[in-house]
């Protein structure tokens, strides 16, 4: 008897396979030099955006709540890991030890913040949650933009006012310089590491969705009151999802800060959160594979089509509106479903006919 594979398992392994194929293809292209330097520079950002998109998909697609604080968590991950790397870059010179530590620190800091923020915020739902997460993202961005940190022989100095307010000894070094941000972070993010982290993130997400916890989270999404009445602890499951989203966003932030020489908090404004939301919506809410594909396509497309790059944001806006109307309006959706069924019918009817003909031979 043929052993049946769980459809979810099959789906996840197809994604893993696709990722491996794309990774190998890109590696071959990089090593044979058949890829432009501009495209090469996009490889790490593509991985970063993919991680952001799949992590946001956990909150939007699996939990069914909209979070606009993705950029804020990314900012925490980026800053905390950059501070760590700058502090230890003279003591730990081996990037293979330093960078995994930085990733863990960035991810955990973001997750801790995610859970701390989540405790009060997740009591809210829908519009309120979206606006509060947006508010938190903006607070985080503003605080980091006003933060000055330096160190000297007396230890760390922290100020929210100005560089002079730190009172550094003459031999002291600045780490965060207010709105100018952090510079001098070691460039530890390579495409191989970023791709490996993306792969791990995808495995985490698939296993989370298919776990007992994941199913509980989805039941909360589908009917909160029913889920509560069968004894599910809503807050706990929401916090787990929110924390995991924040952790992965933080890890993406670590990759981001170690990919560029300098880092400013102003990069993490809410447009970034909306961009990630566009990836999730276009890839299909709840589809992990779709999020990655959308992130790859939407990062590559504007670079390929330089001439229309002015219209890029406008296109994103139209994509958001049209996608939502087409998928959420009952009349329009049934129109698509009907025509899709017809199309599917044409293809599937032909196939068995062809197979029987083959058998006949």
């Amino acid at each position: 008897m043929k052993k049946k594979i769980n459809p979810m398992t099959r789906k996840s392994f197809v994604t893993y396979g696709l990722l491996l194929i794309v990774f190998t293809a890109v590696e071959i292209m990089v090593n044979t030099g058949s890829i432009s330097s501009m495209l090469q520079g996009l490889l790490v950002p593509i991985c970063i955006y993919s991680i952001l998109a799949i992590s946001l998909n956990l909150t939007v697609g699996i939990l069914g709540e909209l979070s606009l604080g993705q950029a804020g968590f990314m900012c925490i991950g980026a800053y905390s890991s950059a501070i760590f790397s700058n502090l230890v870059k003279d003591t730990i010179t081996q990037p293979l030890i330093r960078f995994p530590l930085a990733i863990l620190i960035g991810g955990i800091c973001a997750a801790v913040f995610g859970i701390l923020i989540g405790i009060p915020v997740l009591r809210l739902r829908g519009d309120y949650l979206a606006i509060v997460t947006l508010a938190f993202g903006e607070i985080i961005k503003n605080v980091f933009a006003a933060l000055y940190i330096g160190y000297d022989s007396a230890g760390l100095h922290i100020s929210l006012k100005s560089q002079g307010d730190l009172g550094l000894a003459p031999d002291g070094k600045m780490i965060i310089n207010g709105a100018l941000g952090i510079s001098g972070t070691p460039n530890d993010s390579t495409f191989e590491i970023a791709a490996a982290i993306l792969f791990i993130a995808v495995i985490i997400c698939y296993n989370f969705v298919n776990s007992r916890t994941g199913r509980a989270v989805m039941s909360i999404r589908d009917n909160r009151i029913a889920a509560e009445s069968v004894g599910l602890n809503i807050t706990k499951y929401k916090l787990i999802t929110f924390g995991l989203t924040a952790f992965l966003a933080g890890v993406a932030g670590v990759l981001y800060s170690h990919n560029y020489y300098s880092l400013q908090a102003s990069k993490f404004d809410y447009n970034l959160s909306i961009l990630v939301l566009v990836f999730v919506v276009l890839g299909g809410i709840g589809s992990i594979r779709g999020s990655i594909i959308a992130a790859i396509v939407l990062t590559l497309l504007p670079e390929m089509l330089r001439s229309i790059s002015n219209y890029r944001m406008l296109m994103y806006a139209i994509v958001l509106i049209v996608m939502m109307i087409c998928t959420s309006n009952a009349t329009i959706r049934s129109f698509f479903v009907r025509n899709f069924e017809k199309l599917k019918g044409l293809i599937i009817k032909k196939k068995p006919a062809g197979e029987t003909a083959k058998e006949g031979e």
């Binding site: 069914g64 909209l66 809210l124 606006i131 508010a135 903006e138 929210l160 939502m324």
Partner: protein, 293 residues
């Protein structure tokens, strides 16, 4: 006297927030949706006045009226095209659509008016008021903002509570289906709400750009979000609440900027929102609504 100056500036900014917050409160109360694009309608209003006054050299009054008409029409069009097909959809889809509309307006403005911010000339010519031998000066823009917001709040309260259309709006906000059974045209009532809200946004745009005379495609975004904070603070759905919330948020922002840290003023406003939502999610004047299974 510096404190009094700051307080007056705060009330002035707060009055503008109040006018914007009224638009949020009306739409949220009746259509039960967060119109993310509301802030960007303010920006559109600002650009209409700018174009009418600088490019076409029309008088300020005509420019303001044109802005109000344009924004009202824009509000109706947005509602018909983007939100009406989603009346029965989940709030997540509606919210994402609203973000899409907001993004659309911002980038449309970017394409038409380019990145460089425009310098806005004030449309208000009310003389300055000097108090305490000129130690405290109230600018014409401040007077205009305060007077306009008071007129709007009083007018809107009278309209909602004492006219047939206004009471229809209340009925729709209470229960859409029951309102329909009573012979109220729900669709036209929601359109009317969007029209009023967007018209108010145009007024707010004029006041905002007159007080802070730079105009770019993101001019409306932050004030829009802060006005939403104000609407939540005052109790969403409540007209006097929007006024109180707006003024409090304006005062908190200006005092925070003056006495705590200029960079952290925005963070302070958002921290207020979070505190309000944790302590009293219904806001100062909001009603508690129990969820039915």
């Amino acid at each position: 006297m510096a404190f009094l100056d700051n307080l007056i500036n705060g009330i002035s900014l707060g009055s503008i927030y109040a006018v914007i917050a009224l638009g949020y409160t009306l739409v949220y109360g009746i259509a039960k949706m967060l119109n993310f694009a509301h802030g960007d309608v303010i920006m559109v209003g600002g650009y209409v006045v700018f174009t009418a006054m600088i490019t076409w050299e029309l008088s300020p009054w005509i420019a303001v009226i044109m802005a109000i008409v344009a924004c009202t029409l824009l509000g109706i069009v947005i509602e018909k095209v983007a939100y009406k097909p989603l009346r029965k959809a989940s709030s997540l889809s509606v919210l994402i659509t609203a973000i899409g509309v907001s993004y659309f307006l911002q980038n449309m403005a970017l394409l038409i008016f380019k990145e460089k911010p425009k310098v806005f000339t004030s449309v208000i010519n009310i003389p300055k008021i000097s108090l305490f031998d000129g130690k405290v000066v109230i600018k014409g823009e401040t007077t205009a903002a305060i007077i306009a917001s008071i007129i709007i709040v009083v007018g809107l309260s009278l309209f909602v509570n004492h006219t047939q259309k206004g009471r229809a709006m209340l009925a729709v906000s209470e229960d859409k289906d029951a309102a329909q059974l009573m012979g109220i045209n729900v669709n036209s009532t929601i359109s009317l709400t969007f029209a009023i809200g967007s018209g108010l946004a145009a007024v707010a745009g004029v006041l905002l750009c007159s007080s802070y005379p730079t105009l770019s495609n993101t001019t409306g975004a932050m004030p829009g979000i802060k006005a939403f904070v104000a609407a939540v603070f005052g109790g969403i759905g409540s007209i006097p609440g929007a006024m109180i919330g707006g003024i409090l948020i304006g005062v908190i922002e200006i005092l925070g900027r003056a006495y705590i840290s200029p960079q952290l003023a925005d963070a302070i406003v958002f921290a207020v929102l979070i505190l309000v939502l944790i302590i009293k999610p219904t806001g100062i004047l909001g009603k508690k609504v129990n969820e039915k299974v």
